[in-house]
Symmetry: C2
Subunit: 481 residues, 2 copies
């Protein structure tokens, strides 16, 4: 019998190759357990509001008014909304003829792209061109658009950090390209060694892979490190020498939990370097409303900015964006609000500062509690979470645990994480979902559970881990921490 196109055997093979562990086996099992009534702590995905982070009030007031513009004509509106939220809603509605229900320009509302450009200009000290900023339904959609533009077939390689956020590996597989891994060095605080990078490129080229682009995630996901300016300069020089487009995933730029290395954008470092590199290196930078103290994941808002991309390519990207008509308009307004929050003197300013500082300071404390918690556990070591939303501890699994996993046909880290889930309800992602060196095992957890729950969660983790180690250690070969 001949197969139909949607029979499993006859669908696009690249789909099957794509793996996305953040919502993989562990997540599916956690969802099952939740349906059975078990309390699950979903730390598998950076989804702050799902774990109780409250949305910032001002942007929600503005977007609510934009959704219901008839409220602006109601004499009672001032009882529920402050005057600056009302004014801002009127501002955005004046920019969107047809309101939130009309498709915008496929690149996003021009005036909001201008607000984004002004934000970038203030941040970097170099003006930015709104025509080179495209709004997207979350940063992931932007990354997918750009990878689709670059990848022509399996001969095209993309340098991706390992461990990496699997958006990259999954999308490269889906578009039929080749992932070229470069390893981050755990013992050097997940730093990046340019010599290793050079070797990765040489090795890929020797296999006939045309390495075309390099991804950096700064602050790192899942690894949490913040790149120094010196490291960024090295990376940019390397991309320039090797003729690589740099994709700068900077969605965690608000999430920084130490003061030695504040966030610095790839674009600023590039422009600081001056010609010829500042005029020639092709750079795409990504940002989002889903992370930081916003955490508005469900709204799906993001942008990418293009530096040194030829106008004809910019036009092609526009044309492809136009096939799906426009990014969702409410999230465009969230983006406008994120890059242009209340200012000193505005009615809502104090509240905005109180809320955003409160979230960020708590995240900083949680990063510390979590890292320290992991480091207090037997056979677990964890670099400090300098930024982003994740801890990525290494779990030194005893040989007997590795054997037990193999018997069940599971990766050792999957085995460990499943046991953790069943014992504690903590839903993590095994390190193998992000890539790790051979024979080394990790897990990723977000630092997002509520601060007051954190000590209990870490105690529960420690109890599970230490008894797991007790069970599987042979009490001869392994030293205790």
């Amino acid at each position: 019998m001949s197969r139909m196109a949607l029979d499993y055997e006859s669908i696009n093979e690249n789909m099957k190759k794509a793996q996305y562990a953040v919502r993989g086996e562990l997540y599916l099992r956690a969802s099952e357990l939740q349906n059975e009534g078990k309390k699950i702590i979903f730390t598998n995905v950076g989804n702050p509001h799902a774990l109780g982070q409250k949305p910032l009030t001002f942007p929600r007031q503005v977007v609510a008014l934009c959704q219901a513009p008839f409220l602006l004509e109601d004499p009672n509106v001032g009882l529920l909304f402050p005057a600056d939220a009302i004014a801002r809603a009127k501002h955005y509605l004046s920019l969107t003829p047809g309101g939130l229900g009309a498709y915008s320009d496929s690149r996003g509302i021009p005036a909001i792209r201008k607000e984004v450009a002004e934000f970038i200009g203030r941040r970097d000290g170099y003006p930015s061109d709104p025509e080179l900023i495209y709004l997207t339904d979350g940063a992931s959609k932007g990354v997918m658009q750009i990878l689709n533009t670059i990848i022509r077939g399996e001969g095209d390689g993309i340098l991706v950090p390992v461990p990496q956020y699997p958006l990259y590996s999954a999308t490269i597989a889906l578009f039929g390209g080749s992932l070229v891994p470069y390893y981050l060095e755990e013992t050097a605080n997940w730093g990046l060694d340019i010599n290793d990078l050079r070797q990765s490129v040489a090795q890929a080229r020797s296999k006939g892979i045309n390495v075309r682009a390099m991804v950096i995630i700064n602050p790192g996901n899942p690894t949490g490190q913040c790149l120094s300016e010196a490291n960024l300069i090295e990376i940019l020089k390397f991309c320039f020498q090797e003729n690589l487009v740099l994709l700068g995933d900077e969605v965690y730029q608000q999430n920084v939990y130490q003061d030695e290395r504040p966030f610095i954008s790839s674009r600023k470092v590039l422009l600081d370097m001056g010609p010829p590199i500042s005029k020639e290196l092709q750079l795409i930078s990504f940002h989002t409303v889903s992370k930081g103290y916003w955490g508005e994941c469900g709204q799906r808002g993001g942008y990418f900015e293009m530096t040194n991309i030829p106008p004809k390519t910019v036009d092609e990207i526009y044309k492809i964006a136009s096939i799906s008509l426009s990014p969702n308009v409410p999230a465009q307004i969230f983006m406008g609000l994120m890059v242009n929050p209340p200012k000193p003197g505005d009615i809502s300013y104090d509240q905005y500062i109180r809320e955003s500082k409160g979230i960020l300071e708590s995240l900083r404390r949680r990063a510390r509690i979590m890292t320290d918690g992991f480091n207090s556990c037997r056979n677990v070591i964890c670099n400090f979470t300098e930024g982003a939303m994740y801890s990525f501890p290494q779990i030194r699994l005893p040989p007997r645990a590795i054997e037990a996993a193999k018997k069940l046909g599971k990766m050792p880290d999957v085995f460990y994480c499943l046991k953790l889930l069943e014992a504690t309800g903590i839903s993590t992602v095994p390190g193998s979902g992000f890539g790790q060196k051979e024979g080394v095992f990790h897990l990723r957890t977000t630092i997002l559970p509520a601060e007051e729950d954190m000590p209990e969660i870490m105690a529960s983790f420690k109890k599970f881990n230490d008894s797991f180690m007790e069970e599987y250690e042979d009490h001869r070969g392994y030293s205790r921490m």
Copy 2:
């Protein structure tokens, strides 16, 4: 000098092949003219709110409350919102732990998919399974996901009506597949002849194309026809015989302007036919919140429903959806509201009925005004717009106009539409953007301008057209209408 990956010469060639005329040359020129201060009537895209259609009040109230859940605790909330909107907002918030700011399940919020399933069950008289309904950021994104699943390379062909909505041609080009056209017959009210269809398939197969799926758009875009049950039965039988997946684009199911052929879903017709076809034919049906009397284009909400798709394929589609985490949550709530509007006895029921009937009845009158208007013009003939949002008149261009276009290196219909735009501000899409038979020319316009503006717009069109014809006719060969 070696090229960088985002140089125009070295990007993905499939991107360059994709064409999307709805936002093509005409749209870009219209935007330029608008920036120069000229009044433009954008009838190029089915974007009702942009042309003054008011959003329905009740859904906007509910979504505004969901965006600002703190209002629900405000003692004054009842001054601005009716009790049923408040109750519904509480209902949706209870379904989304974390509210609108949290990623949902990648397939959409389970309880809203259940509401969609219940709607489909009521509509078709057959129960629907929420597990086979995936919410998407607008129907276009769903179509792209499914085509990505089907297309493996240029040997895979997709049957697409001509004229067609260019989402299909553009997406097939982008994914590197082959479009297999079948022609709709203008003189038979844009009907579909199964013998022609059979011929299209035979011809494609003789070229080595593996025809895998067939697209129907019902009601038609850009052609406006509504398919009869008899025609749908023929189509389904044909797909079954030829082993084709049917993609049913039914986004205009609320937009029907005649009573002889009410909307009937492909799924209902399929299930009415009984086994074996009802148990075996693979069908994907698409719907949206962007059309009908909702017109909530900017929110980007849609769904697709899978019938007879094997579970392993359903899982693969889920996995790929999960790479971009989740469809935007506010639009999921709009979808819930669309499939579950106020009921008789609810406070907001009368208003909801008044608003939705008002929009639909006005569209019906506009369809008539526009079709009659076109038919009163020299060398223009137009089938009645039975459904959807478009008129697609044929423009019989005199040979001298065709020559004049060729001299400028333009398609004749592009030449005509540009002249129309410059003379009247009416921004249409040339028929060549949708495909048409050799030597026959059309344009597409929406029926969406405000009803009170319609007579003036049609008068302005007629004045332009008739003087265009006067200019280019040689006054010998052509008869006047």
